[in-house]
Amino acid sequence: MTPPLLELASVSKTYPGVKALDRVDLRVERGEVLALIGENGAGKSTLMKILGGVVEPSEGAIRIDGSPHRALTVAGSMAAGIAFVHQELNLFDNLDVAANVMIGREPVFAGPFKLIDRAALAAKVTPLLQRLGVDFDADTPVARLSLAQRQLVEIAKALSLEARIVIMDEPTSSLTASETARLLKVIAELRAGGVAVIFISHRLVEVEHCADRVVVLRDGAVVGELERAEIDHDAMIRMMIGRDLKSLHVPAERAPGGAVLEIAGFRTPAHAEHPLDLTLRTGEILGMAGLVGAGRTELARAIFGIDRPLGGALSLDGRSIAIASPRDAIDHGIFLVPEDRKRSGLVLDFSVTENVSLANLKAFAAGLIVRRRAERRNADERRAALDIRTASVDTLVGTLSGGNQQKVVLAKWLSMTPRVVIFDEPTRGIDVGSKSEIYKLMRSLADAGVAVLMISSDMEEVVGVSDRIVVMREGRIAGFLERSEFSEENVMRLAVGLRDLQQAEAVSC
């Protein structure tokens, strides 16, 4: 019997005061899709860093093709055929696809001048792209590609390195349903070609779809393993959190009330030809589904005053309002929890306190001077109320986990009095435990009479959390669904249009 492609035996990693990994055993076979799941902080990233050669294990052994290694180096990991497709993509968007795939390994000619042989470059890259079935060419600039397409470029890069193990860290977190379907298909093809895939994801539906085996990590240790036949949603959740997760949907305390924010004839710069009408009601979580690029984020940005709308009117509680900047929106109690929290939601080098008070600093100031004690007291209160897990409110936000960072963004807005809160992909890259806390929070906001708009590409979330769903397609509103009509299929039907749906189904793996 041939030894497994990759085997970790009793690998531990200890940081001062923390045991990040505790005697982890892991085995990856050729042509296998291994899903690695666990809450944030369960040790997945540390494990991946060890495989990438970035971090040295404190104890244990790594065996590749049966030959033992004490630790891997970055070069050693690459030589062993381990390739990463990162959560944050590492591409040069000023270069074209071929240049990115072959970066550092460009075919050259003209001897010492080392001119790039563009024809040879394209000849090497094109077959890889064909193998992945992509809809762009080797000479397409990366800047013009969508996030999903960029991910395929990363995968092509892994293939060009003759990777035998491709590690994908949250590959679908920014993809739409049909893009995800295509990625899953690519994974199936990789598997068929004998490549092993380690798939890290919070989206259990996808794990269910494509994994041959699931390994569950909790608190740095492997707590369970499921074979293909045993993989099921509830079993995974139970293992991850060590308890049963209640259904996502928390029913509203009362029926939705009157209109809070009315959007009439709104035209965003991205989809100027389609005026939008939408009403956000008090006490209701309105889920907004749609493919990436359907105009959801653009609508949120325009409402919040980041982009100037080209036309249309907003009225809050029946009174017409004008929003020219985020300041105006905030002054009216309209808040946005942005899609990219690290870029738009937080100042990562600021402390928790400084982030929490940033939007409302004048409330903590006497004249022009910030009253730091009041500011800190507020942060401490928010930290307790939202259960933000941090040693102190003086901790820099950049060092917190994704779930806790998102709670800091929320704490910033909850320090004020919200009327309308727009959540854009509120739980992207967040562990299951924090997710349910965020859902609970949305519900309590709605119950307190706030209008909640939740933009989400996570189907499970849209169907599970919303009281009503609005679906956008190509810049217009494709339709509304009431709770009795909720199903993933109905949402998909509106999001892609009926004809495209059949195509999307044909590619799922």
Binding site: I306, A329, G345, F350, L361
Partner: protein
């Protein structure tokens, strides 16, 4: 941040100690007074340079602003016989207006700060030279402004008033930068402009205000420098001074990437720069090597700082 400032203070004390051992005249009241005067003159606009750098920008124009506003100031006093306080207000306001123009071009027309202020550097120098027909602007024989001279070039108990002005401005700006709402916004914009905007901060105004402060301090400095040199040849007056300001700010811990820096650091940076200049004179190093010594020390300081940070991070990771 505090650790960095402390390191700089230790460096100043060590350099001071070494120089005073090699040449005891370093600690003579005359030398200390003169050095303090220069620290005050150069420190004033270094604070402006630092504030702009904290937003992630740069102000290259101040040296030329000194030439332009300096000749205007002397012309107001000598040619137009305007009362000194009115002339002072006009010149400081002139600096504010120049800063406001820079701020407008950078935040409204979205031009790069480097380009805007580089063009400023060229334009103001050119206008200053044209204004005086490339001649030297100076006071007439026997002309004197006792109050103005006392305020700018005078001394109290041996402490030059330029230095006192610098300390006062530094204290006020320290309060603004480290304790006020505006200061917090300034750091937020420097660290992550987008997140600042999403938090409702009017980032354009914050950035523009930084250039206005820099311009205003340049206007104030122009007066102190004019009263120090007493005559201005616009082709050379204030040449390279913008780089002194930037050097002091960077030495004091301001990162050109924005979002980092402190007033205390800038003050210490300005002090160290002048001690280095003084050292060149006192130790008999050829004065032509002046810039080379400054550049060398800054380079060593930045390299040492980076290595120490890396060491600390590596230790933290283990």
């Amino acid at each position: 941040m505090l650790k960095k400032d402390l390191g700089l203070l230790v460096l100043i004390l060590v350099v001071g100690l070494v120089v005073s051992i090699l040449n005891p005249r370093f600690l003579s009241p005359i030398n200390l007074g003169n050095t303090a005067n220069l620290i005050g003159l150069f420190g004033l606009f270094s604070i402006g340079a630092g504030i702009v750098i904290i937003t992630g920008g740069i102000d290259l124009s101040v040296g030329s602003v000194f030439a332009l506003l300096g000749v205007v100031y002397i012309d107001l006093l000598v040619g137009w016989q305007v009362s000194w306080w009115l002339a002072t207000i006009v010149v400081v306001l002139g600096g504010v207006v120049i800063g406001a123009i820079h701020g407008f071009l950078i935040t409204r027309l979205h031009l790069q700060p480097f380009i805007v202020t580089l063009c400023g550097l060229l334009i103001y120098r050119g206008i200053a030279r044209y204004y005086t027909n490339d001649g030297t602007a100076g006071f007439e024989y026997g002309q004197s402004f006792p109050t103005l001279e006392w305020l700018t070039a005078g001394r109290t108990l041996g402490v030059p008033h330029s230095f006192i002005m610098f300390v006062v401005v530094a204290a006020v700006m320290g309060l603004v930068l480290h304790r006020s709402v505006f200061g917090r916004y300034l750091f937020a914009v420097g660290k992550n402009e987008e997140a600042a905007r999403y938090s409702g901060i009017r980032t354009e105004r914050v950035v523009a205000a930084a250039y206005i402060i820099s311009g205003g301090l340049a206007g104030l400095s122009a007066i102190y420098l004019a009263m120090y040199t007493r005559s201005i040849s616009p082709a050379s007056h204030g040449n390279f001074y913008e780089l002194y300001g930037i050097a002091a700010a960077v030495l004091g811990g301001c990162s050109l990437r924005g979002g980092e820096g402190s007033i205390l650091g800038i003050v210490l940076g300005a002090i160290l720069l002048q001690i280095l200049q003084n050292l060149v004179n006192l130790l008999g190093i050829p004065s032509s090597l002046n810039f080379a010594v400054m550049g060398g020390v800054i380079l060593i300081g930045v390299v040492a700082d980076q290595q120490l940070t890396r060491l600390r991070e590596r230790r933290a990771r283990r």
